[in-house]
């Protein structure tokens, strides 16, 4: 039953209540992908449908889990993160699609973001621009483990988040409109080794780092450098990898609790006994 929210988007239009959102939350851009993510879960219910935010909560095996679309861009992503965090989310994993900047990346490859270039603008309302948008190492590790296990081609590195889809990424707008300020953006980011463009990751990472939450991101490359055409073939792999990574994170978290450890880490002690 909807209550009057504090502001229009609070708890997604007042539709969500404590308990509706799981600790583990997948945050795709589109509501269609949120449905894809939730398709195999048990006891799935839609807990919000408000503007671009569609949230589904269910169980993946024993794990309570939510998928919530953020919509496109930093503003809507920031609303989603603020509301999800307020409702108890502690791990936010973005699943998206992307255009690659590096020549070794092929269409359909997965790109796991270790950190993001903050051209989203929205995150500047939260922290000075010099603050780093970093993914959490446990989420990076879980995504790598999942991609390895599933046998998908993947890359790990710095990505860029733009505040507009066309001109901000150095592409012409309507009628070929271009802004000379953006003329160097693609060559500069490519030289800096940045892997891809999207429009949400830097906002997600900055806010989660500020709030002490874990964040990560896996995107599938959908711009085919060979044909110049959109090719969504990798999207299903990104979805599969993100779901597997959440299972792995939940297992690591349970092991941490059992063992009284703070972090999931590769084993170091047996190696350090391996003296010469």
């Amino acid at each position: 039953m909807a209550e009057t929210p504090a502001y229009m988007h609070a708890r997604f239009g007042g539709q969500c209540h404590p308990g509706d959102i799981a600790g583990y939350v997948l945050v795709p851009g589109s509501s269609r992908r949120a449905e894809m993510l939730a398709a195999g879960w048990a006891d799935v219910r839609q807990v919000a449908r408000h503007f671009e935010f569609a949230a589904y909560t269910g169980r993946m095996g024993d794990l309570p889990i939510t998928a919530c679309s953020t919509g496109i861009g930093g503003t809507s992503t920031s609303i989603a993160v603020d509301e999800l965090a307020g409702l108890g989310a502690h791990t936010l994993l973005r699943v998206g699609v992307t255009g690659a900047l590096q020549p070794e990346v092929g269409v359909g490859d997965l790109i796991i973001a270790s950190a993001a270039v903050r051209m989203d603008k929205v995150s500047e309302h939260y922290a000075p621009i010099e603050y780093p948008a970093v993914a959490h190492f446990e989420v990076i590790s879980a995504l790598i483990a999942a991609a390895e296990e599933l046998g998908h081609r993947y890359h790990v590195g710095v990505v860029a988040t733009s505040s507009s889809f066309t001109v901000g990424e150095g592409n012409p707008g309507f009628g070929g409109y271009q802004h000379t300020a953006m003329a160097h953006i693609v060559p500069d980011l490519t030289a800096a080794g940045v892997y891809d463009w999207d429009t949400e990751t830097a906002t997600l990472f900055t806010l989660c780092s500020l709030y002490g939450l874990r964040a990560g991101r896996v995107n599938a490359v959908v711009d085919d450098p060979a044909t110049g055409k959109y090719n969504p073939a990798g999207e299903a792999h990104a979805v599969q990898t993100a779901l597997a990574a959440m299972s792995i994170l939940a297992e690591w978290d349970a092991a941490k609790t059992r063992q009284g450890r703070r972090f999931a880490l590769p084993e170091a002690t047996p190696l350090m006994r391996n003296d010469h």
Partner: protein, 270 residues
């Protein structure tokens, strides 16, 4: 090495060759700290002293490790990283000190930065300010794993690397804060940022641009003495050892990254 790039600091005054430098490098701030760290190695050798850069190389449990002091400030850090990378180094751990008590941190607490706020100046010559100064996740995990193995308390978080020294922003003896600096200090406090040792932002940005690995440790020091940072120097060397061991295991297994092990029964979705 090409003579075309020779300048006063290339190869630290032209005397250091790739054979002198290990792939795993500890970067303490001062020469005195470097000397202290070198004593942790087996048969340390003084490679050279050039301006603020004092270099030692040695081995620990068979792993080649170099130690190079960076001096203060992003400028000096950038020269050290440029030269060491050119000489074959690929993994760096900076050891720095915060001079001021940080909110919520015990004096003996070591901070393992996940990333740094780029108040260094120098990194802005390399890449636009939106680019993240992120520590490499393998280096972060190695520092945490080494700390866990030695039962040391660590804190993870974001640190601010200030080019002019943290005194300029955190109330030094003759503190003058401009309105912009006052606002920045408030913003950093709101963002729960700790003071770093000054090297992190430049190091993380350069290493990331060059696809090398970097991390850092931040101790608290009231006097800048080697004793005050000794636990951080020791942990830094141990973390490099962990990384070298993981790298050897990766090579043996043909895997690309060191990650925590995944239970054999696999995941719910596969």
């Amino acid at each position: 090495l090409s003579d075309e790039r020779a300048y006063v600091h290339s190869r630290f005054g032209g005397v250091v060759s790739p054979d002198d430098i290990a792939p795993y490098v500890l970067l303490p701030t001062t020469a005195a700290w470097a000397a202290h760290a070198a004593l942790l190695l087996d048969e340390p050798r003084l490679v050279t002293e050039h301006y603020e850069f004092t270099l030692y190389s040695g081995r620990l449990r068979g792993v080649p490790i170099s130690v190079c002091s960076t001096g203060l400030g992003g400028m000096s850090v950038s020269i050290a990283v440029e030269e060491l990378a050119q000489l074959g180094a690929h993994t760096f751990i900076a050891v720095g000190a915060r001079g001021f008590q940080a909110d919520g941190l015990a004096p003996e607490a070591l901070v393992v930065p996940l990333g740094a706020v780029r108040l260094d100046g120098t990194s802005h010559d390399y890449v636009r300010p939106e680019y993240p100064a992120a520590a490499h996740f393998e280096v972060v995990m190695a520092a945490l794993a080494a700390a866990e193995a030695h039962a040391l308390t660590t804190h993870t978080g974001i640190v601010a690397s200030v080019g002019a020294g943290e005194a300029s922003l955190s109330g030094g003896a003759r503190s003058f804060l401009s309105a912009r600096q006052q606002s920045l200090v408030t913003q950093l406090r709101d963002a729960k940022v700790w003071w770093g040792g000054g090297q992190e932002a430049t190091l993380f940005v350069l290493a990331s641009l060059y696809r090398l690995r970097a991390g850092a440790l931040v101790a608290q020091s009231a006097d800048g003495s080697p004793a005050s940072v000794a636990p951080a120097l020791d942990l830094g060397v141990q973390a490099l050892l962990v990384l070298a061991t993981w790298d050897a295991q990766k090579q043996h297994a043909g895997s690309r990254y060191a990650i925590p092990s995944v239970p054999k029964h696999g995941t719910a979705t596969t």
